[in-house]
Structures are given as structure tokens and as C-alpha cells.
Amino acid sequence: MERMALTRSALRLFSGRFTQACQVRGYADAPSMSLTFAAPSQVLYNNISVKQIDVPSFSGSFGILPAHVPTLAVLKPGVVTVFENDGSTKKFFVSSGTVTINEDSTVQLLAEEAVPVDTLDISAAKELLAQSQSQLASASSEVAKAEAEISIEVSEALVKACE
């Protein structure tokens, strides 16, 4: 039982970098992974087969490959990288949301807001960071403090994404 858990977390840790080497099960051909990546007002991928997805989550950033162990995670503000089947890479900034990996290798990435990273403006992001920091300084109630801290977290991630 313990060995299983160890192998599973090892898989998770290394699945972003070392692909077939760490797969305990061997497949003749690479199984496919169907991604649905959507926000309330836009569809980025709808049941599209992709090679790999890197997601930022509160339980750590990890990469998702076909036959990844099923799991749920809550997204942190950060960059989602999608490696498509034809070799191209697309990066999106997400504000928050959830990611679901099911047994049949379908992945649902539901983001509250998702924008392509190249549409981000670094000066606007830095301004937002400065604003949120002053908000935190002037925050009075617990709720206002929490909101300001969330704002800082998002703007820091935005600035990082632009660089």
C-alpha cells in the first residue's frame, strides 16, 4: 500500500519532466488525453487531444500527461502551459478555478478567467501590484485584508507571467 502511494506521488512529481521512464505501466502507443479548457465566457479547448498540460495549483504546480493518476486540484493564479500534439506550446494566464483529471484520461480545466499570456501588459500588471499593496496597507477589516492579499497574489503572478 505504501509502495503504491510512493510510486503515485513519484509519478506526479516527475511526470512533468521524465515521461515514459517513470511510467510503471508500459503502453505500446501513447494513450491520448482529451482536454476541455474553458472559462465562463470562452472556450479554449473542447475535448481536444493534447500531449501535456502544466497547471499551477494550491497543491503545487504539476504537469499532466496521458494516463496521469486521477485527481482534483484547485488552481492558483499563474500560467497554464498546453503542449499540443503538433508540438506547439500555448500559454494562458488563469486567475483561479479547478482542474479535474478523470480515470479515462479526460481533463477538465475550468478557469474563472483565462487569457493568452501574450495579451498581458507588464506595466499594467506592475501598476495593479502597486495598487493592491497600498490596498493591503490601508485595509481595515479581515475581509478587506484577505481581498487585498488575493489581489497581491494575482498581480504578482501576472507580473511573473509577463517576464
Binding site: R8, S9, R12, T36, A38, A39, P40, S41, Q42, V43, N46, F58, S59, V69, P70, T71, L72, A73, V74, S96, G97, T98, T100, N102, E103, D104, T106, Q108, L109, L110, E112
Partner: protein, 279 residues
Amino acid sequence: SQQVRGMATLKMISIRLKSVKNIQKITQSMKMVSAAKYTKAERELKLARPYGIGAQEFYKKAEVKDEEGEKGQLIIAVSSDRGLCGAVHSSIGRIVKTDIAANPNTKVVIVGDKVRNILQRLYAKNIAMVVTEVGRKPAVFGDAALVAQSIINSGIEFSKGKILFNAFRTVVSFRTTEMPLYSQNAVANASKLPVYDSLDSDVIQPYTEFSLASLLFYSMKENATSEQSSRMTAMDNASKNAGEMIDKLTMTFNRTRQAVITRELIEIISGAAALETKN
């Protein structure tokens, strides 16, 4: 006296004709407005559908079932504040009523005034929360998040839950559908949950909360599209009916007008004839 009555009837008919013509103008313009809103709503729904369907996948794949327990049922009835849209509100109200009759331990969260009006009289004590100012502007995720947060903050507990809304099918048809809602306990006890790696309440709680907001958002979008298309159809029918009434009234008006003229002529001619015979 016959003459006077004829004139009066003529006036009455022309007043009615004018008012029905006004009504037709109003219903035609309402139809135009809802056609424009419908186009926008349908476009937004198309973009929201993968999101809404994706949000339901986990519960299907993990085979989550309703919690065993006696905490009662929660129904979130999604509708809107405005009427003149056909059977949209009444179909929701009808299903809520049958559900409460079958299971009296039911709490209802109502989104939209119209359903509240339907349920207020007999089931006021089952109403847990009412959300108003719905339907005027297209729903955004923030609205759904607000409703979800209020539901969570109110601490409503339930063993079995559902979101009731009108799913959009085509311009002329919608279907009253329900999406199941599961409590955190139900998720924690799901038969396939152990398949999912390293989950604890740190993940399950925010996941289910975000999920609630997402499902609510999706149901609001579907309902808005159904409502606008239904209103378009209703106003179109009203304009057609008004048009028929105008045709009939115009016929009656012309006949009455000709009758009045004929009567006048008869009186003049018989008066003249009477004078001649006197001479």
C-alpha cells in the same frame, strides 16, 4: 335614436381599433428587443456550454450519489424577474410544487421574482432565499459566484440537491431540466473517489464551492436564452392575434360606417318623399 346609437357604436369601435393597434406596436417592438437579446444570449451560451458541461463531468465520472440522510432536499429554482415569456416561469413553479408535495422537507432557493410569486402563497415556509434583479442584464460569472457564496454562507444542509432551470433547445422549444447538486459529504463518500489521488477537505471544499458557482452560472445562461426565445415567440403570437383583431374590427367599422350612411340617406330620401307626396 337609431342614428345616435350608430354614431356611438362607430366611436366605440374606433377607440378599440386604436388601442389594439397600439398594443400591436408594443408587442412588435418587444419582439424585436427580445430577438436582439436572444441572439446575444445564444452566442454567450454557446461559449458557456463547454464550461458548464465540463463542470458536471467529475460528478458523473466519480459516480457521486446523493447522501444517505435526513437533511432534506435543496432545490435551486433558476428563473427571472420578468414576465410575458410564455411557460418559462410556470413550468419551473409546477415542478417545484410537485417536488415539495412529494418531499415536504425541501428548501428552495429562488432566483428570480416570478417563481417567488408562484410559490409564495402555499409554500412560503419552504423558501430559504430569494435572489432578485435577475434577467435585466446578461448574467456574468460574478453573479453566480455571489449567489453561490450566499448559499454557502447561509449554511443550508441537504442530503439531496438539484438546480432546476430551462435548458435551451431551439428557438421555439426549451426543456425544463434539472442538474444534480451534491453535498461535500456526498462527494467524500463517492464510490469512485478513492481512485482520485491525494484528496482531502482542503481540495474538496473549494472544489465543490467553485463547482456550485459554475453550475449556477451555466443554468443562468441556459435559462436566459430560453426566456428570450420564449418571449420572442409569445410576443410574435400576440402581434399576430392583435393583427387578426384589427382586421375583424376594421371590417366591423366599415360595415357600421356604411350602415350609418345608408340610414342617413334613407331618412333624407323618405323625408323628401314625404314632402313631395304632401305637395
